[in-house]
């Protein structure tokens, strides 16, 4: 199992419960992937740690965990996989499940938004850290009176090289906007969106609650640029495409809803194995409907966001599905060791 995030944890415990010996390798010192950096989860705003603890607690002693190991090589020798990390760690396996997840879009690539340049331009991930720390403050230590959220940063954006939708950013923005209002009831919150893609159960209700209970302003229009004025305020230029008018608005803080990208490690391991990357750089399944967890290489499987953006519930379902696919593979081949 390469990657100890949501998919890796869930698939490990599922496979262990089916009687397999599982080796889980994680690049960071702790398992949990992005969830451990997320203060609360949509749609019910439960703490991320709750889900993380549940996933970790299911890991039995049949799962051998190696953390702090970045897998740098993988190859297939006589039907078995040999996996190794930069520091010399090695393992062999009859099957490999890639659960390498996603990386967050580097917001500084959208130069015109000023991330890394203007003091009070942050990402959705930075805001989660602020929630965890229990304070939302500007660079000067003051509380913001007006915050803007920009949807689709690095998603559905040909210029950024990502034409796909990252799926979770819309509802994350709604969730974070509500949390901001709960932290700072006097703060005005504006969300600048292309479409509101409320695809999951209870997402639409959350969106409605954001408008009716928290008076969050949703403006349909893509941010054209942000700049900083002499007082440190972030000046936004955006078009309100429902009114058909350009809009200029000053905010104290700007939150960029960064999307998901296929991480470098996935592409590196994929190319070592001769796997195909899709035009969106995520991995290609043998069949996206019928065999989404199966690769073109016998014994190699996928789960979670290495095959495209997913929310946590879909990732966990995908991980359990992958566990069943692996069990079926061994049953058919009868070469389980």
């Amino acid at each position: 199992m390469i990657g100890g995030g949501a998919a890796g944890l869930e698939a490990s415990s599922a496979l262990a419960s089916l009687g397999f010996r599982v080796v889980l390798v994680e690049k960071e010192d702790e398992t949990g992937g992005h969830i451990k950096n997320w203060h609360a989860l949509f749609p019910n705003r439960r703490p991320g740690t709750e889900v993380l603890q549940a996933l970790r607690s299911k890991l039995s002693k049949e799962v051998e965990l190696f953390s702090g190991k970045t897998v740098t090589e993988i190859k297939q020798v006589q039907g078995r996989f040999e996996v190794g990390s930069a520091d010399g760690w090695k393992a062999e396996a009859d099957a490999v499940l890639l659960t390498t997840g996603f990386s967050l879009f580097n917001a500084s690539k959208k130069e015109e938004y000023g991330y890394g340049i203007y003091d009070n331009v942050i990402t959705s991930a930075d805001l989660e850290s602020a929630f965890s720390a229990g304070k939302i403050t500007m660079k000067n230590g003051e509380q913001p009176k007006r915050i803007g959220f920009v949807h689709c940063v690095g998603s559905r954006d040909e210029k950024a090289g990502n034409i796909y939708c990252s799926k979770v950013c819309c509802v994350t923005a709604v969730k974070q906007a509500i949390e901001v209002k709960q932290f700072l009831p006097e703060c005005e919150v504006f969300c600048f969106y292309m479409d509101m893609r409320m695809f999951g159960r209870h997402y639409e209700e959350l969106y409605k609650e954001a408008q009716e209970k928290y008076y969050i302003q949703f403006i349909r229009g893509r941010l054209s640029e942000s700049t900083e004025d002499h007082t440190g305020k972030i000046i936004l230029k955006v078009e309100d495409t429902l009114l058909g008018k350009p809009l200029k608005i000053g905010v104290d803080m700007l939150v960029l809803m960064v999307g998901m990208e296929s991480p470098d490690i996935t592409r590196k391991l994929g190319s070592e194995l001769g796997l195909l990357n899709d035009s969106d750089r995520f991995l290609v399944s043998a069949d996206q409907h019928i065999s989404a967890n199966v690769s073109e290489i016998p014994g190699l499987f996928f789960a979670g966001t290495c095959t495209g953006p997913k929310n946590i519930a879909d990732t966990l379902a995908d991980a359990r599905s992958a566990a069943l696919a692996i069990a079926g593979y061994f049953e058919n081949n009868s070469n389980r060791s």
Partner: protein, 358 residues
């Protein structure tokens, strides 16, 4: 604001700029708008830096204004540009240096078009040959003249007599830099520093002692925008654009504006006068405006050239407050005198904008 963040962006946008042997193509409007600038460019390159610059009397307009105003078809424009390249080839040069931003953008657009559509290049070659019997080579290096001054900014700084520093306080002057839209907004990788945080003028300002102001409307058009100004009915948009920029930069109390486009200094300079007449408003202190310069004029000033020899007397917003702040020596009485000391007369004083005649 994090300066380091900008540096990271700048590193992404470096371009190759030739070192010597330039075929110089002048602008069709700059010698009327700011008559000393192109002369200063050739003087600095030849006399100060010892470079070889070929100044052809045979080249024409690139048709850029007509092209962007939809008056000249692209095929015609490409043929005219092909002729300019043929003049360069015939003169034995490979490095093309454009004085005008729109020309630079247009040459870039055409070279990119030819790169991706070789059949279009073949057609342009055919048109040129049929019309003139000329042939050409693609320039080995294409640079805007401001790229070249940028490249040699440190050499100019070493020879400088003055720096962009307040002589009384020793503090850097606060400078607004304004880049022509066609410099890098169409092809960010063809401009030094890219499109969002261009470095070409910032590099000069920093090398010569000044400090750049990053104000909210920094990226906004100067107001020239061909359709805004050339279509007379749209001129309200033109002055509104300029006003938006002045209102945005005013709180930073800029000492000067530096530009690298033919149109930008024209409109940022002349509209300050028009706005003062319309609204009684001036954007500098004590009835002064914010003086506007081309980068060649600023290079000339720091090198100690006489302000009236480089054409500063034709600016609508007087340059004197800035000259005094830096401590540049000049003769107020020579402002409206010709090269032989003859009196050229002087313009009527504006109603609000402070006027310096002697």
């Amino acid at each position: 604001m994090k300066h380091e963040g900008k540096k990271l962006v700048w590193q992404e946008y470096q371009k190759e700029i030739a070192d010597d042997h330039f075929f110089y193509a002048r602008s069709c409007i700059r010698q009327t708008f700011f008559p000393g600038s192109e002369k200063v460019f050739t003087k600095i390159l030849k006399d100060e830096l010892g470079k070889d610059v070929y100044d052809s009397e045979h080249h024409t307009s690139c048709t850029g204004i007509g092209y962007h105003a939809d008056a000249v078809p692209f095929e015609t424009t490409m043929t005219v540009v092909a002729r300019q390249f043929a003049l360069m080839t015939e003169a034995g040069y490979e490095n093309y240096a454009a004085s005008c931003i729109t020309s630079f953008g247009l040459y870039t657009e055409i070279l990119e078009t030819w790169h991706h559509f070789p059949e279009v290049e073949a057609k342009a070659r055919e048109f040129l040959f049929k019309a003139t019997g000329r042939e050409f080579k693609i320039p080995k290096n294409l640079a805007h003249a401001s790229d070249i001054i940028y490249k040699f900014r440190h050499e100019i700084a070493e020879k400088a007599k003055y720096r962009l520093v307040d002589k009384n306080t020793g503090k850097p002057l606060r400078v607004v830099e304004h880049i022509g839209c066609h410099y890098s907004k169409m092809f960010p990788h063809k401009g030094v520093g890219g499109a969002e945080y261009p470095y070409v003028l910032t590099g000069m300002i920093e090398a010569w002692g000044g400090e750049v102001i990053d104000y909210p409307e920094r990226r906004h058009c100067c107001g020239f925008g061909f359709r805004q100004y050339i279509v007379q009915a749209n001129r309200g948009y033109s002055i509104a654009c300029s006003k938006k920029k002045f209102d945005s930069m005013e709180p930073y109390e800029p000492d000067m504006i530096i530009t690298n486009c033919p149109g930008c200094p024209m409109f940022l300079d002349r509209w300050q006068y028009a706005l003062s007449e319309m609204e009684g408003k001036t954007y500098g202190k004590n009835g002064n405006g914010i003086p506007v310069f081309t980068y060649e004029e600023v290079a000339g000033l720091v090198l100690g050239y006489d302000p009236w020899e480089i054409g500063l007397q034709v600016h609508q917003v007087p340059a004197e407050p800035l000259l005094d702040k830096i401590g540049i020596e000049y003769d107020p009485g020579s402002k409206f005198k010709g090269p032989n000391g003859e009196d050229l007369g002087h313009p009527e004083a504006p109603s609000y904008l402070k006027f310096y005649k002697e």
